[in-house]
């Protein structure tokens, strides 16, 4: 299941024992360690308020990492600003809250995914590439993003995150606020991208069962540190994890 499990190769993303929080002296993360290998889908689950989203903010340089290191592709990226996370490490993010530009067309939204480049030919190529992956977006190219359904907006957000040809996409609760059937489609799209273009994904999921089912490996984060980790299939069958997060007696 896990594409690179020979253990000899270095992970694409290494989060090493990080401490981080929103206020000085109040760390939300108290020693989180996780790894993501190239070509993997890794899912972080855990209760509300455990610090799952905070992990992403720390990786992406939105909040300061007070202790520990973040390494991507062998380069330390601890505390680099978001723009550099994008440019030098090739990490993009799909946040939990709606992140489309509602009064811009689908096409403009995708263009902005490559805001940091001025190479118009390249932008055009990437847009065509994303349209190939999501034909629905091509149909809606001229429509204002805000007038699309929640699922379509999520597709657009994912499509936009692919514009920059990222090495790693962070997805914060891709299923948030979506109907079950749409959630299923989103997870299918993520696994399809992983299969077809080898997309590496680190996601957070409230919907632990479906999130793990779509992933290779998983981590459980509780009160600021990870408590379990392993193959997604193992976590799905772990009694403690099942009791706590999967709603199984």
């Amino acid at each position: 299941m896990r594409p690179h499990s020979n253990g000899s190769e270095r992970p694409l993303l290494e989060v090493q024992d990080i401490y981080a929080g929103y206020y000085v002296g109040q760390d939300v993360l108290k020693g989180v360690t996780l790894e993501v290998y190239e070509g993997e889908i890794v899912c972080v689950i855990g209760p509300n308020g455990a610090g799952k989203s905070t992990v992403f903010k720390a990786i992406y340089g939105i909040i300061p990492v007070r202790k520990g290191r973040v390494i991507c592709g062998g380069r330390e990226i601890t505390n680099i600003p978001p723009q550099q996370a994008l440019q030098t490490a090739g990490i993009t993010i799909v946040p939990q809250l709606r992140s489309v530009f509602p009064q811009m067309t689908v096409h403009e939204n995708l263009e902005l995914g490559m805001y940091l480049t001025k190479d118009k030919v390249r932008v055009k190529e990437r847009i065509d590439y994303v349209y190939d992956l999501f034909p629905r977006l091509a149909e809606r190219a001229k429509q204002d993003a805000g007038t699309m359904s929640g699922g379509e907006q999520r597709m657009l957000e994912i499509g936009r995150s692919l514009m920059w040809e990222p090495r790693l996409v962070l997805m914060d609760e891709p299923s948030a606020g979506l109907a079950p059937i749409i959630t299923k489609q989103i997870f299918e799209a993520i696994t399809r991208l992983n299969r077809e273009i080898g997309l590496t994904v680190l996601m957070i999921e409230q919907n632990a069962r479906q999130g793990l089912a779509a992933s290779h490996r998983g981590y459980v984060v509780e009160v600021g540190r990870q408590t379990y980790s392993g193959k997604a299939s193992e976590l799905l069958n772990n009694d403690n994890v099942r009791r706590a997060f999967l709603g199984a007696g």
Binding site: P82, L86, Q103, M104, Y115
Partner: protein, 297 residues
């Protein structure tokens, strides 16, 4: 018949004036989420700059306007750097009060320097054209209208077509998402604020032959800008134009058709519109960059 035509001409002319007066206010609110209560004072500063240019250098206000634009852009850049940037992430009320303080400092500061005397700023483009019997076109206002349409078109092209313009719209529509795609939101805010204060100052130069230049001319203009923006939609250029025209036509109609008290009613009109818009259509008639009342989205 000729009276109706005159109302329409006066209304559109007045609307042109309101358009240049409201653009900067509306875009700052729409993009930065800052209610610039010193807006009228930046108009006043622009008007004084134009008056000085005329008084000292003999420059016609219409020729001075581009220079006033550049000068006021620098003023705007400084104000955002020193003040606005520091309160931008705080609740609306904070920036509103900060700008309210700025308005009092500017108006009273200008009174200390220039006294409260009313100044006239003359232009060669004055008088009126006789269109037909009983119908005239006010020349100065006509050229203000032309300038307004020019600024509106330039601004639309800038926001729709250029990379910087797109990043401004993006930051207005979704601040977090703009950061995610790598837009330097602080820089966008700085440029937007400077640009808008530049336009606002130029508006002051353009209306200086129409409204007497004096330190306390600001507050009614701020309130009018507030009313038009809330009615038309924040940060919407076509909203600013449409809202300004509607208000201009209503005021011109009231002033001519209701003799005696019509002029007073015209002053009330904009605030009736404001109140009605806030209650019934908080997203604005024309749909702006964001709703006036964030809860209404």
């Amino acid at each position: 018949m000729s009276q109706l035509l005159q109302v329409i001409i006066n209304g559109i002319a007045l609307g042109g004036m309101y358009t240049v007066l409201v653009l900067g206010f509306s875009i700052i609110w729409g993009v930065l989420g800052v209610i610039n209560f010193a807006h009228g004072e930046f108009v006043m500063l622009g008007a004084y700059t134009a008056w000085l240019a005329n008084d000292q250098l003999g420059l016609d206000p219409f020729l001075a306007a581009p220079l006033v634009f550049l000068f006021m852009m620098m003023v705007g850049f400084a104000v955002q750097k020193i003040l606005v940037n520091r309160v931008i992430d705080r609740p609306h009320l904070v920036s509103l009060l900060v700008m309210f303080g700025v308005s009092i400092i500017l108006s009273n500061g200008m009174k200390l320097i220039f006294s409260a005397d009313f100044r006239r700023n003359d232009t060669a483009l004055d008088g009126s054209w006789q269109l037909m019997d009983g119908v005239t076109i006010p020349v100065t206002k006509f050229f203000v209208l032309l300038a307004a349409l020019g600024i509106v078109s330039a601004l639309s092209v800038f926001l729709q077509r250029t990379r910087m313009g797109k990043s401004i719209r993006a930051a207005a529509q979704n601040r977090e998402a703009a950061r995610i795609v790598g837009i330097d939101v602080k820089k966008v805010y700085a440029i937007t604020f400077a640009l808008c204060i530049g336009i606002t100052g130029a508006a002051g130069a353009l209306i200086s032959p129409i409204l007497a230049v004096q330190p306390f001319q600001g507050p009614p203009l701020t309130l009018k800008a507030f009313a038009i923006t809330a009615m038309a939609g924040l940060g919407s250029i076509k909203g600013a134009l449409g809202g300004a025209m509607i208000l201009g036509l209503i005021e011109a109609g009231l002033a001519i058709y209701i003799s005696g008290i019509g002029t007073n009613l015209a002053v009330i009109a904009s605030f009736v519109i404001l109140v009605v818009a806030l209650v019934l259509r908080p997203q604005g008639l024309f749909g702006g960059l964001r709703p006036v009342d964030a809860m209404a989205s």
